[in-house]
């Protein structure tokens, strides 16, 4: 009997269609209602609609939608990388505390006077994410069984420290909410450009290593004897994921579970081969985050919920399901 699974093209087309529909919905929905024809005119003939509507579409809604797509895709990429390197389907930058490491260092940056728009902020965030990743890497080398619990403990600790540093830096409570629950509210074209460059570069780096990541899922002996420089590949992948995590945390705060859910769903649909898993997980991540953004903007409009609440509501059951599956087998 032939095992059935894996229609990567069909899955990709469906996800892309959903993404396009959600993107239009995301631009149309909000405190100011916008029609699809407004969007088309704002892009191709801005003078034919009111200046306010054109401004909202071009400078608020479209950057936000693109930000959700890129951030979701980036978080999914990090999830794929962490799950492969640590050989654990429950690993992602949020669960393991890597995002919290970045946000803690950002908080420390605030304490020493770095401003929110300072260009050094992503570098500071990267220091936090890479140090946390290095710590996890050391833990996993000694005992892979304790990786997840260690990550969860680190996450708690670093989240608490983030909150403390933001209080110490005399920032307002909404800033704390931003860092701990995430938001796409501060999306802008310049930030989008940075996020876009980082996402594309990371996709190229990770995309070149998809077969290496397949081998990493097997044991070290098999991977090494197949010709893979396991140590170097792990370092390249972890540094890449840490840079992406740091960039996302800088611009959007901590958004949980997208990196966990997306690869998990895609692995069920198209299998573990990273050549299929990586792009489709990134597409899935974009869909999930775009959907979450629309929900958090619509539920209590004209106010909005932090996006992390929605992703956590969606992601926590998936995490529990994975935990249960792992325990049973």
């Amino acid at each position: 009997m032939k095992e059935t699974r894996r229609r990567p093209f069909a899955v990709g087309i469906v996800l892309a269609a959903i993404l396009v529909i959600l993107a239009f919905a995301g631009i149309c929905l909000g405190s100011v209602r916008i029609t699809v024809s407004d969007i088309v005119r704002a892009v191709f003939n801005p003078s034919s609609i009111s200046r306010n509507t054109a401004y909202i579409i071009r400078n608020l809604r479209i950057p936000r939608i693109l930000s959700a797509i890129l951030t979701g895709a980036s978080l999914a990429l990090c999830g794929v990388v962490f799950q492969s390197v640590f050989r654990n389907p429950m690993a992602d930058s949020y669960v393991l505390g890597v995002s919290s490491g970045a946000s803690f260092f950002v908080g420390l940056g605030f304490v020493v006077g770095i401003s929110f728009v300072d260009v050094s902020l992503p570098v500071v965030a990267f220091c936090g994410s890479i140090l946390t990743t290095a710590l996890l890497f050391l833990i996993s080398r000694r005992n892979t069984g304790t990786l997840l619990l260690s990550g969860i403990a680190l996450n708690f600790f670093l989240s608490a420290m983030t909150t403390l540093t933001i209080y110490l830096s005399n920032r307002q409570a909404d800033n704390i909410l931003f860092w701990t629950l995430g938001s796409l509210g501060s999306s802008s074209w310049p930030r989008l450009l940075i996020l876009c460059v980082v996402t594309i570069a990371a996709t190229l780096v990770v995309g070149r290593n998809t077969e290496a990541m397949d081998l990493l899922l097997m044991d070290d002996s098999t991977a090494i004897s197949s010709g893979l420089n396991v140590k170097a590949v792990r370092i390249i992948l972890l540094v890449t994921a840490s840079i992406v995590t740091a960039t996302v945390v800088c611009f959007c705060g901590i958004i949980g579970f997208v990196g966990l859910m997306s690869p998990h769903f895609m692995r069920i649909l198209v299998g573990p081969k990273h050549r299929r898993l990586l792009p489709l997980s990134m597409l899935m991540g974009a869909v999930i985050l775009l959907f979450a953004d629309i929900v958090c903007r619509s539920l209590i409009a004209p106010s909005e919920l932090p996006i992390g609440i929605i992703t956590s509501v969606l992601g926590a059951p998936v995490f529990l399901m994975l935990l249960r599956r792992k325990r049973h087998g």
Binding site: K2, E3, R87, P89, E211, A212, D214, L215, L217, M218, D219, D220, S221, T222, I224, S225, S226, G227, L228, N229, R267, G271, P272, K273, R275, K326
Partner: protein, 250 residues
């Protein structure tokens, strides 16, 4: 052609808290089916890990085809020597053919190796399992799939760490016959085995390790003697001839 495909010259080392080898000397000529035997903890698997450079050795202590292994890149080593570990799949649901194709990683043609994968699956007799998930086949079938991956890597030297574990007698015979066939085609087979009779019946040479030292090495019959078995394993054995075949009873 190098006379010795593998030359170990004063190898010392092991793991952080556990030194296995002290000044190990060993040479393995090209071709033939060489068994590595010895009690648990003798260093059998550790020796194989040095041969694939998973464990780092001092310079000029391990040579592959007369090249110091430390001067070789991992991909170069993988084109000379393949390795079947004692790996067990956990949750990674590759199909058998996907897992076998990963043997081509070192050549960069994993995606274009359908013919080689099919041939390796045919040789191991598991062509019918090509589209099955490796987590849903039996332990024995999985061992055969991993052997197919090793064959797909197409190397002159094949190292295998206890490949007949989990196999029923029929599949054990089939796998060992296949290894003999590969040896007869000129490949060098190096295989950790525990079953002394399987070694006696299938292997041309045997390395008997004890506490990180080569206790005996040479033609299998001259290594697996009653005295050597008694000294290394601490058991009383008897070697009888049955239907023209030597058999060790213990």
């Amino acid at each position: 052609m190098a006379e010795n495909v593998i030359r170990i010259n004063g190898l010392s080392g092991g793991y952080e808290e556990n030194t296995i080898f002290k000044n190990l000397e060993l040479s393995i000529p090209e071709g033939g089916f060489t068994a590595i035997a010895g009690p648990n903890g003798a260093g059998k698997s550790t020796l194989l890990k040095y041969l694939i450079k998973e464990l780092k050795c001092d310079d000029n202590s391990v040579f592959l085809m007369d090249n110091d292994i430390n001067s070789m890149r991992q991909r170069e080593i993988a084109r000379l020597i393949s390795f079947q570990s004692q790996y067990n799949p956990k949750g990674d649901e590759f199909t058998v053919s996907e897992a076998v194709a990963l043997g081509r990683f070192t050549y960069g043609d994993v995606r274009f190796s359908d013919d080689k994968v099919r041939k390796a699956l045919q040789m191991t007799g598991i062509e019918h399992l090509a589209d099955k998930y490796i987590t849903r086949i039996s332990g024995g079938e999985f061992q055969l799939a991993m052997l197919a991956r090793t064959i797909c890597q197409d190397t002159r030297i094949l190292c295998l760490d206890e490949p007949v574990n989990n196999l029923d007698p029929r599949h054990q015979m089939m796998l060992l016959k296949l290894l003999r066939q590969l040896a007869s085609e000129g490949r060098t087979i190096i295989c950790v085995l525990h079953d002394l009779n399987a070694i006696l019946w299938n292997c041309s040479r045997c390395i008997l390790l004890d506490k990180g030292n080569v206790f005996a090495y040479g033609e299998t019959k001259s290594v697996l003697t009653v005295e050597n078995i008694k000294t290394v394993y601490g058991i009383d054995a008897e070697i009888i001839e049955h239907k023209g075949k030597l058999t060790i009873i213990y």
